[in-house]
Each structure stands twice: as C-alpha cells, then as structure tokens.
Symmetry: C2
Subunit: 378 residues, 2 copies
C-alpha cells in the first residue's frame, strides 16, 4: 500500500470558514492546454488617458467631471448595484419558496492613484498607505450610515476579471444586509469561538475565546512545522496560500500578532506593515508570469465599525468583534500570462477543483523576486 | 412611498436548494460596457478535424486511438482529476482545521456525435436520445462500482467556459464522495421533505412527503399564476429561469408530472420528451444572440442508482429517493455574443449579483424561435 502523498494523490480539503470542500488533483497540471488563451495585455499605457473616466479632470459616463485629484479619489458609482435607503417595503411572498428582500445601500469607486498606468504593485509604500486610509475612511463613513449593515471593499483587477478599466481602482459596496459569503464566515468564526480547541499560544478573540483565523495563522507560521504555505510575513502580517485555496495562486492575507476585528482597529505601525505586505504580494504576483497579474481582492472584517454607543463595552468584551480582518486574493492565472484556470462544469455543479497543491503554489510565489520585473532593469 | 417593483428596485432572493442569496439589480443593464469582449467563435468548422482528439479514428493525447464510432462514444479521460479506487488511506491531520480526505473515482468523456461541427442544438431528437442513453448507462455502470458514492454528469460548452474542444461532448466524474453543492442540495431537499408546507396538488416524494422541487415546479406552471419564468414546457418537463437564478440566462430543467429521483427512473416516454426539451432549450439559447451559446450544464439527481439490494423496498418507500432529477444550465453571456457577465469582485467576496430579473430573462428566451437560426433559411 503506497502511503498517501498530497503532492500526488487526489484528495479534498475543507475550508473551515465556509465548510466547503475543494478537490485537489495535483497530477493534473501535466495536462496539455488547447483551450482559450487570454488576449495579451495592453502595454505602454499612457500616464493620462483622455478617454478614461477615472483619470483626473475627465468627464464620467453620468456627465460629472472628476476633480484634478493628486492622490486617491472617491465617487459614487454612476451605475450602482444598489440605491440609497430608504427603499420600498418588502412585498408579500407569493410562495414560501420565493422570498424577496429589498436591499439598499451605496456603491463607491475608490481610485488609487492619478496615474492611469500604475497598479498597487507599482505604487510607493506611502501611496499604498493612502489607499489604506481611504478604505478606513469609507468603512467608517458608510458603515456608520443609518440602514447600512455591511461594507464590502474589493478590487477587480484585469480584463479577465471583468474589470473594464486598467486605471488603478477598487470599489466598496455598502448594503442593508450582510451578503452570503461573509455571513457564512461570520457564523463559522462565531461557532469556533464557542468551541473548545486544544490550548495554543495563538492570540485570542473577544472574551478571551479562540479565534479560528488567529489559530490558523499561528499554526501556519509556527516555525517548527514550516508548513510551506507561507509566502511572506512581516512584523504584523502574513500572506499565505491557505490549506483550502481554490484559485491556483490564491492568497489569504491577515494580521497574526493579535486579534484585529477590522481596519478601524489597526495601529499606525500595523498600517505601515499592511502597506508593505500589499506591495510585496502584488509585486510577487506580477513577477510570477511577468505580467500585470489579474485578481479579485476582497476585505472581510467586522460587518460595520463599532457604533459610538458601544463605547462602554471594551473592545475585548464586544462579541461583535468575533470577526478577524483578512483579505482574499482570487487570481485566475494557472500556467502563464495567458492560460487561466476555468472554474466551470464540475466546479459549478460539484465542487471547486484545483490542479496544483497550495504548497506548490506557495513555493512558486516564495521564489518570485520582491523587485517588480518592470523595475528590475534599473 | 413607491410600491416595491421587482423589475426596478434592487433586492435579493434566496435559493432554497443552497440557502444562498442572489442580489438582483435590474436597473444595471443600462450600464455601458467598456470591458473585455469574447473573441468571435470559429465558424464553418469541418465535419471532421484531423487535429481533434475526439473525432472518430483520431489519435488522442495518451496515444490511444478512437474507434471509427458512428453514434456516441465514451472513453476514460486521459487527464482524469481522480484515479480508480482503492487509494491510500487518509493521513493524520496536522491540525483540526486542516483535514485531508483522499478521493478516488473515474472521469469519463462522452462524445455526443461523430461530427465535429455539431452541438446538442443541431442534433436530431433521435441523436439526443442516444446521448441520454449514454448518460443513463454511465450513471448506472459507474454508480454501481465499489467505492463510488456520486456521479456528476456535466457539459462545458464553449471556449469562454473553459471547453478546450468544440467537438460536441460532455463528461462524467464519478467520485468516492458527494461533492459540496449536490450534498448541500440533498440536505435541503431532505429538510424540506420533513417539513410541513401548506397542502398543494404537487407530486410527492418518497413516503408521500413533500418534495421541494416538485412543489416549486408545480407553483411555476400552475396556470392561474403565470409567473413569467417558464421558458418552455412539454408533456413531462419544464424549463424555467428559476426565481433565484444567478447567471443571466440560467435555466433549471426538470420533470414536473411526478417525482423522479434519477435518470434511471425515466420511462421511455419521459426520455423522448427529455430529448425534445433539450433540443428546444439549446436551440433557443443559440438563437438568443445568434451564436453557439456557451454554458456549463450539470445533472443533479440521486447520488448513485438504487443498489440491487434495495429491491425489497418499493421506490416510493426508499428515503434515498428524496432527490429530484434536475439539470442546471449556467450560461455566461449577458448582452450579446461577445459580452458576458463576470461573476467576480463583489460576487466572489460577497454574493452573486445579476443585472436583469429572471422574469426578464425568461421573456427573452420565450421570444426566441424554436427553429435554429442556422436552419432557418431552409
Ligand atoms: O476537462 P476539460 O474540459 O479539459 O477542462 C475543463 O473542465 C474541467 C471540469 O469542469 C475544469 O476543471 C477545467 O478547469 C476546465 O478547463
Ligand atoms: O463595476 P464594474 O467593475 O464595471 O463591473 C465588474 O464588477 C462588478 C462587481 O464585482 C460585477 O458585478 C461585474 O459583473 C463586473 O464586470
């Protein structure tokens, strides 16, 4: 009987944040690819594009004109997926299986930089710091609005991820409901906090209860194990390919030194090392296949900031703080700048399937240079 | 206070098969699209392509040669995602959050027709009937194998859905585990069967208990309501855009006259009308944007056929028969043959979002001709 080898034998792993499985088929990368390839990316983008609705001073679709901004820039999405509260009340359901829930909220666009031709990977730490400040500001402002229960900050990067404009930008959708995925993660974080795992030296959540993500990060970076899934780590943050990664080079980025419910909880030092690890990770991504690496990124955290009224409870006693801040990076590329993984057929109808192990992916990302390939020549 | 109007006001709906939400933003189709468009499809494909590894008589990647087949044709995938049982036993978990489960099984390719240039939409009813027979045969054979707990039959169609070969074909992945999505659906079907919904005239599941999908189909086709979500219906089957559809023109196809746990349970008449509705739906799809419409399709049913040993229990008493046969079609196109919906950023990090209502989508599909656009000139 051959002993089990995770880099050879098909197996499945569980994501404890969602209780969903991923099928790992490591031998499958040997498969030749004869399918669709991605079109080559535009190179030599101009610093300012007169046609771009995100560049400073340009006119947008709705007819409004952008400021001549010099750093980050926010505005309300001209084609928002949700509209401001109050909205109409819920109609009666025609059948118990058919329920409708009106949703209100707001959709913001967050431009990262005035230059059309840059991306997070090519911004200075100071410039990335300003993006982080914008995320904090939007989370705080939108999340304190009447009727808003959740703020989802995300970035779609690259045409193959449905991003319609290369100008560096992200979005924040603020909603009157907590969406499915973060709601599931929060339920599982809460469940874990009430469980009784083996004692460990990991940081603890509110009421000194265990935190799933603090435990997980602690296990991954505990040096004696050396799990091989850590891509990069600095004073406060770790970037790793999680045990349960779906996308080929998926990354989970989180603070590991203490339990941090949201970006509002970050200290100045933690924000500095957040900028540093964002720069490091996005540079490695670009260097992996020498291209501007496409991904969707999302920030998961406490649904909205602590209200003023909670000031009497300490942060450590506030059960709502069960969330632990983390970022998911979901990048589609698998083999090269033009060959992506398609999560289709079996993945849509059965469960996600991946073609290399998370450990193999982490190794590839660890091997990437920390100097951006376009700056390497200097 | 404006009354709620589902074709104008953003809202979310619940999928009772998964308990997940979809955010519906009907006003969003007005948004201009400046992002990636899909490359035009190859037209005038040859009837036989010497380079195609699926055409009769050709050599495949593994070096094996296809028979000179004249109808459907099956073989084991040369790059299977899972390998035959028995496999190595599960290793001890390094941490309770990191579990590994070895998976065994087999991956079959099912070629629908010898001609390279056809698709389901252009096959005769008799030819589609042969594909159905193949699905039944694979479900029966694979599903009776020692160690196989689930058979997932699916089709990836079109380059934008990761299909690497236009030759008409599907796959069946047979596994030693029930994958996440069908396991969730089965759990919700079971839960519903134990619930006590309002009495209705819908067919009943085993032990005369309610079946979620029988109830749902019954509600949708009950003429007095006319929900507007039915695309096409024949003697035994209905194709509809479900209340909770995620993909722009998603279709749920299921038998509505009686509770049918699997394709093994279909009568000859039911198979004939299955072929007819498959032909009707795939023709409408192609006609929607006058192109070979891309999709992923999957058959959900009883995980494996009833074993011989169950012969003593009647079909109506067999609790495993709680599953109700249905097909999901997940097609990405949104506005035209080249503009698709990207389920990215918010969708990956929050919850799926759609830009037109299921009712609007069903109307568009109802309006499509039943004669294939390439045959219309005749
Ligand atoms: O097996 P194929 O058609 O080559 O591959 C396609 O379908 C598989 C099953 O859905 C996916 O895992 C692959 O990512 C996709 O490219
Ligand atoms: O808002 P954008 O960038 O134009 O649009 C993109 O991101 C949205 C949010 O993830 C998606 O709903 C769209 O399908 C996608 O094309």
């Amino acid at each position: 009987n051959t002993p089990f080898d995770s880099s050879t034998h098909p197996h499945r792993r569980v994501n404890p944040l969602t209780n969903e499985h991923v099928l790992v088929s490591p031998h499958r990368t040997k498969r030749p690819w004869q399918g669709q390839t991605e079109p080559p990316q535009a190179v030599n983008l101009p610093r300012h594009d007169p046609q771009c609705y995100l560049c400073p001073g340009n006119e947008r679709a709705g007819g409004l004109r952008n400021d001549a901004y010099e750093s980050t820039y926010n505005f309300v999405n001209d084609y928002a997926a949700v509209l401001p509260p109050p909205g109409p009340i819920a109609p009666p359901s025609p059948h118990p299986l058919l329920t409708t829930e009106p949703v209100q909220g707001g959709c913001d666009v967050i431009v990262f930089h005035p230059r059309h031709d840059l991306t997070l990977a090519r911004l200075s730490l100071e410039e990335i710091g300003k993006v982080i400040e914008q995320w904090c500001a939007i989370y705080q402002t939108r999340g304190s609005q009447e009727g808003i229960e959740y703020v989802q900050i995300f970035e779609n990067k690259g045409a193959m991820m449905g991003c319609s404009n290369p100008h560096p930008h992200g979005q924040a959708w603020s909603l009157s409901v907590v969406p499915t995925l973060p709601a599931t993660e929060l339920a599982n974080l809460t469940k874990y906090s009430l469980s009784d795992p083996a004692p460990s030296a990991a940081p603890k959540g509110p009421k000194n209860r265990p935190c799933l993500l603090c435990e997980y990060a602690h296990f991954e970076i505990d040096v004696p194990h050396d799990t091989g899934r850590v891509v990069f780590k600095n004073e406060h943050w770790v970037a790793l390919v999680p045990w349960w990664a779906i996308w080929p080079f998926e990354i989970l980025l989180l603070p590991y030194k203490r339990h941090v419910p949201s970006i509002s909880h970050l200290t100045a030092n933690e924000k500095n090392s957040f900028a540093q690890i964002l720069s490091n990770v996005t540079k490695r991504y670009d260097n992996l296949f020498s291209c501007s690496f496409a991904y969707s990124m999302g920030i998961h955290q406490r649904p909205v900031p602590r209200p003023e009224s909670a000031a009497l409870i300490s942060d450590e006693e506030d059960e709502e703080n069960v969330a632990h801040l983390h970022l998911h990076f979901a990048p589609p590329l698998l083999r090269s700048a033009s060959v992506r993984k398609f999560l289709v057929g079996f993945e849509l109808m059965g469960e996600p399937q991946r073609d290399l192990t998370p450990e193999q992916a982490a190794q590839r990302l660890r091997d990437c240079s920390e100097v951006h390939y376009l700056d390497g020549a200097a």
